[in-house]
């Protein structure tokens, strides 16, 4: 699940780590880093600002102080960014932080333990590294592949929906999206976003043959239910379960799922929109639907689907 999709985020990496790992986790995360900072700062202060060259009148900054300055500046900038956004959770940006932190560790500590250098031991290190790499590949590769497939499928689905190809266009495009999602869940059956997307794309098959709504709805609901099992506190899977149940025609189950999504994400524009779309189908609850869609538009005035729904409800 992407952080950007989370309904409530502190926009602060420290608070995020604290909320995710608790006090003990935050301490295990923060104390070593704080100790490295302390050592670096102490060492940086002890280093002279400039040293004179032996056979020259000029003075230069000692290399140790230069690298410490570089590492401290980089690490502090990264630490400052972590107070206002999720840089720690963006892999490409985390690499910069790791680089600065690595410079600090390298320049602040002297290596005291020397690893044995026997030929057999060297082969052992290589074997250990190989095993570690292979384990990461076996464990991580399917997850990364599933994420990549899900992202690709999601963007294609949005494009297909944007151009309304699913309604009356080349049927192969939607089929391709469904295949991508199926590949994603095959690669990693624990990816809730992939199950969610699979359910959403199956729902679009309704426009190809409305008479087959029960079979399509049941299939979409099964995929969404799998997402709910995997991530029961993720509002989007509940909302998608509501959409799937709506297509299936089970109004009571849809109502319950949408209510749960709203409970989990009361500040999400789309959660309000989906509930409004569901309520709008019931003539007696149209006023409720209008109130919900107004809330959706107050939260996100650029929600095009909610805007269209509001126009439709006002016309009706």
């Amino acid at each position: 699940m992407a952080l950007a999709d989370a309904p409530v985020t502190p926009h602060n990496d420290y608070l995020l780590v604290l909320s995710q790992l608790g006090l003990l986790g935050a301490a295990l995360f923060g104390l070593p880093a704080g100790y490295v900072f302390y050592r670096s700062w102490s060492r940086w202060r002890k280093e002279p600002y400039a040293v004179k060259l032996r056979d020259s009148k000029d003075a230069i900054m000692p290399p140790q102080r230069f690298f410490l300055s570089l590492g401290l500046a980089g690490a502090l900038a990264f630490a400052l960014c972590m107070t206002s956004t999720f840089v720690f959770h963006v892999p490409a940006l985390t690499l910069y932080g790791v680089l600065a932190f690595g410079i600090l560790v390298k320049t602040s500590f002297n290596r005291k333990i020397r690893l044995p250098e026997h030929r057999v031991l060297r082969a052992g290190y290589a074997l250990l590294a190989l095993c570690a790499g292979w384990s990461f590949h076996v464990w991580g590769a399917p997850k990364l592949e599933a994420q990549a497939l899900e992202l690709q499928a999601r963007q294609k689905l949005e494009h297909v929906l944007d151009l309304r190809v699913h309604v009356s266009g080349n049927t192969a495009l939607l089929d391709e999206v469904i295949l991508l999602y199926e590949d994603a869940v095959l690669a990693d059956a624990a990816n809730a976003d992939a199950w969610l997307g699979l359910s959403a794309s199956i729902c679009q098959l309704y426009f190809r043959n409305p008479a087959d709504f029960e079979r399509i709805g049941a299939r979409a609901a099964a995929a969404a239910r799998r997402g709910v099992e995997l991530s029961p506190t993720y509002w989007k899977v509940w909302a998608q379960l509501g959409v799937a149940q709506s297509f299936y025609g089970d109004a009571a189950a849809a109502d319950a799922a949408f209510s749960k999504a709203l409970e989990l994400a009361p500040n999400s524009s789309n959660a309000h929109y989906y509930y409004a779309a569901y309520l709008g189908a019931d003539t007696d609850r149209r006023e409720e639907a209008l109130a919900e869609v107004r809330t959706a538009l107050e939260i996100n005035p650029r929600n095009a689907a909610a805007r269209r729904l509001q126009q439709k409800l006002l016309i009706l």
Binding site: S246, F247, N303
Partner: protein, 302 residues
């Protein structure tokens, strides 16, 4: 006597209600004229290339029509509307339901009896629509990449041009008779009256729009459309051409009349609630890398 009369009336009304609901049918189209070649495919069906010799031909209303530059097609619909399409581009009739036309009433008047609901999706190209003979209770919507057009008894046309390189749209809406309302993607509404023209250009989300008077070119195009209507008015007025393609619709569920559709249990009592998929809002902070959108040839296959 009076209570018995009221009782009888209410029973008759109660009996009439389900009959009324069952009277809704999916409408039909007749293709009267083709210039060069257009590709027509019915919903869920295979595409058929139509040439001048193939017309006239009637078909079920849910169709997708593609035409290259210079190719065009002229249709009449069973709700007494006319549609002319000129490529390059495509349009689709996504929804077309109407009251089952009664033969005697159909022949007695040249106007639509009852009501209909029509949704057309225009991707690009030029479309001209004559909805003047439709009833006041009918709805006619045209969905475009730039917004929605609501028509009530109007003669009008729209042209959409799209440059895939710059992703820029260039469009014009012309109203020759009646009133046309255009709602853009931001929710802004523009109402065009007889003789007015709306033109716009720019990106999909925020094109620059201006309203002016019809040009000589658009007047000429509308004149040609009127001539086509006059030429084919007699053929378009034959109910028998449409009747084999009507499909009865029960509330919420369509029952196939002539064509085979997958079987379902009509007694399940369930009715689908169709909910449009909403895109995720743009993230405040990028979390993962974004892959580029599908290439234009792939996305432009609509």
């Amino acid at each position: 006597m009076l209570p018995r009369f009221l009782q009888l009336t209410s029973i008759l009304l109660a009996l009439a209600s389900p009959l009324r609901a069952a009277d809704w049918v999916r409408g039909a189209l007749t293709l009267h004229e083709v210039a060069r070649e257009v590709v027509v495919s019915e919903l869920g069906g295979s595409a058929t290339a139509m040439r001048a010799g193939d017309a006239p031909v009637s078909m079920s209303a849910l169709v997708n029509c593609e035409a290259a530059h210079g190719a065009s097609a002229f249709f009449s619909a069973s709700n007494r509307s006319y549609l002319f399409f000129e490529g390059g581009g495509s349009f689709a009739l996504e929804r077309f339901e109407q009251d089952l036309p009664d033969g005697a009433a159909w022949r007695a008047t040249g106007r639509e009896v009852g009501q209909s609901r029509t949704i057309v999706n225009l991707r690009s190209g030029r479309i001209a629509i004559d909805a003047r003979n439709m009833s006041d209770a009918s709805q006619y919507l045209v969905e475009t990449p730039l917004g929605r057009i609501t028509v009530r008894r109007a003669l009008w046309q729209m042209r959409i041009g799209f440059d895939p390189r710059s992703q820029m749209f260039d469009f014009t809406i012309t109203c020759s008779d009646g009133r046309v309302r255009f709602t853009d993607l931001q929710g802004r509404q523009y109402t065009l009256r007889t003789g007015q023209r709306l033109s716009g250009a720019g990106a999909k989300g925020a094109p620059s729009i201006e309203v002016g008077e019809n040009t000589a070119r658009t007047r000429e195009q509308m004149q040609q459309f009127r001539q086509l209507i006059d030429t084919h008015a007699t053929a378009a007025g034959e109910l028998e051409a449409y009747q084999p393609y009507f499909r009865v619709i029960h509330p919420g569920v369509e029952v196939a009349a002539p064509a085979a559709m997958p079987s379902r249990q009509p007694d399940s009592g369930r009715r689908p609630i169709v909910i449009e998929h909403a895109k995720d809002p743009a993230p405040v902070t990028p979390f993962r890398g974004e892959v580029s959108a599908p290439p234009v040839p792939e996305t432009d296959l609509f």
